[in-house]
Symmetry: D2
């Protein structure tokens, strides 16, 4: 059976990551998933796995910070005239750095990946969704968007920009039927990245102290299912043991 709609996700990397988990989930719900990332190997591997389940998936090599890549991704997703039900900007890059040691390249790169790319992605998603006056547009955000603490000042500045962008889009496009959502991930996701970047932290937290990938994906789906009369624009997601 042909899918009735599609999902576009950017920021799909390792199989044990949020992007990949959302891709699997949306595919499982019957959507054709256009999933974008920078690593062809990872995308192809994930695409094979999803296809084995009988779902439709299109891997797209794309850099979220390159506008033409983002435009191309949405062009692909729309070429069969399919409706885009969900779009997720899931790029998250964090580099801890004391302020005086933060160079311009790092400060700029964090902004490009966490905020500028979201601007490219959001515009394309809204262009596409406006045609049907429906769709859910997610931006995966972080607690740093609410509070800037060293050594995460540059990250916080980028995520605060993302949050404002998502909020402005919600105010502008909700009345047009587009559900814009900003999630505040408060804690460490139990994925490959954390294990590689912060192995000691992951061990110290224990399994219960990390956000489980499927658990996050369940909530994204539940929010997508909301009736337009009671939409959530912003919500936090946090392991029960996480101090906040």
């Amino acid at each position: 059976m042909a899918p009735k709609g599609s999902a576009v996700i950017i920021g799909v990397g390792p199989e044990q990551g949020l992007g990949a988990t959302l891709a699997c989930q949306f595919a499982g719900k019957g959507l054709h998933v256009f999933m974008a990332g920078r690593s062809e190997d990872k995308l192809q591997h994930l695409a094979s796995k999803i296809r084995q389940s009988g779902a439709l998936v299109t891997p797209v090599i794309a850099d979220a910070t390159v506008e033409s890549d983002v435009k191309q991704l949405f062009k692909l997703a729309q070429q069969d005239g399919m409706r885009i039900d969900i779009a997720v900007y899931n790029v998250d890059s964090n580099i801890p750095s004391p302020l005086l040691e933060t160079d311009t390249e790092t400060f700029t790169k964090l902004w490009q990946q966490n905020c500028l790319g979201a601007f490219f992605f959001g515009k394309e998603a809204i262009h596409a969704m406006q045609k049907c006056r429906q769709g859910t547009l997610f931006f995966t955000g972080a607690t740093a968007s609410l509070r800037a603490k060293p050594p995460f000042t540059a990250f916080a500045a980028a995520k605060a920009g993302l949050r404002a962008l998502a909020q402005g889009m919600a105010r502008e496009f909700s009345p047009h039927g587009i559900h814009v959502v900003h999630t505040i991930i408060d804690g460490v996701i139990d994925g490959e990245r954390a294990v590689i970047q912060f192995p000691d932290f992951v061990n110290a937290k224990g399994a219960d102290g990390l956000l489980q990938l499927e658990a996050i994906a369940e909530t994204y789906w539940a929010i997508h299912q909301q009736h337009p009369s009671a939409w959530t624009h912003e919500l936090d997601l946090r392991p029960f043991k996480e101090p906040f």
Copy 2:
């Protein structure tokens, strides 16, 4: 089949209201619902309706601002040793009033209903839920908790207190396995109260401009279903057309 657990809701009034809608929904999910309100007529009418669907329901006459009533409600809910899965403080009372015209009785009553009662209810719910180290405790809040605007200053002061209470409880009891949730209802609920209190406003908004009862209840259920590794503490709920 006997229910596996129960739900306790206070602030159950008209059939076309959020408390009643949550009661029906939780009953439909197989929970024994202990529903409390001040009007015996309304409770009995609703109880009959729920019983017709084959569900277990216990109506309890209670005033949320009377501590002994709240204690009695939870005593009843626990007398069969049943687990309390969900508790909802759904009392919401709003009286618009320019500040200089707000008398002490009104200011106090709004606090009692929106905040003090939540303190009574929250304590009892946590006492009960701690035994099983699980349960979801909802507080139905409002945008006024974030921004105080005349003529809703007294209401905002009460709802801001409620929000702080819920937040403090979440920080204290989440690590014990109790999921504490504060919902920010931003808009007017399409229920009997709005139709009576603000008929012109309801007409002006149109059906799409009001929060549908079932839509809110769906989200409460979805949040209750969240895995402890990714709990939401706070989320807004708003009609897509609502300016914010």
Copy 3:
């Protein structure tokens, strides 16, 4: 020389406290100070000291949580037809308490002292100030108004209510020429109360780690001096070493 105006302060206790420091400062600026508190001894002692400097001061025994006391205070302050330039609600009561150990009396008392009394005081101050379409109305607040953390949940619920009250008043009465200010004291004030209540904490912080009384008073005065075209409604005050 007769004072041109007056200041009304409630929450004046020990000489080494914020209320007393504000009283001395306003008296030094030439205002007739009406200072209210619950301890006649402390008030008389402070009044003698202020009178020695040649300033006019009227001590008033009053409980901020008793509406008639607050009304009487403002009646006194206005009986000579003098303009009220400044009014400060400086009552601050904090009782740390884990939530399940917090009884109704404590929860209610904290609200009465931090929020209900401010409602009484604010109404009277605005009634008085509206006549001249000018005046500055301060509410001494706390960081807990922004974030509720155990064991300060009850305190936070009260201070969050205070903040909302102040914000609603600012929105309603700024256009009438009344400057409503909410200060967020973030840290421990270097006064008698801290020394008695938290001696170890005071020692650990060191002199630099506590808010100096005169330093706070200077900022209150600077904010009172602001031109109406650039009023501050809310500002934080924090020792430079305080983590936040």
Copy 4:
């Protein structure tokens, strides 16, 4: 008499503007003012005026978004070994634009001017101030940092980034004796820019409805005068008639 210290301001444009007003004020307080902007004509004109009052001033042609310009500015300000007492990042650029009409150049430029330049400036200011373990570093911010509303989404994303940057810096460097301040200008400044950009708006507001330049400058000075035991990190500034 030689000045004891200096002030560095970037974002100095028309004489009727906040940068120029701060320059005049700081010069009047006895500081050697290094004032930077992009227009040589405007800077020279202002420098002449300030010199006539007997104060020391050094105009510097600089683009806040060019890192080498910012480094050069601080190099100049430090070449005589003078202490930098105050540094103000006063660049504020706003371009209203519905999101789908906002191009990448505009989105990027707003970020560069409101946020990236502040990163350059903040780093240099802190490098300089750390030597003396003192100094006040101001960032002129806007209400949009707190709430993103169309057609100001791109501006809000940039200002939210600025706010996070300032907050992170405050947390990192306050304990080192550097006072980092974020001002929230809520309203329109009564300067040349507003008159040119929004003449109708300026007329509609009336003189009382705009922020007076000198009034803002007074508050900057008062905040600079604060004792380290009671520093303000963030405050709003708003005409008394401004709805908020």
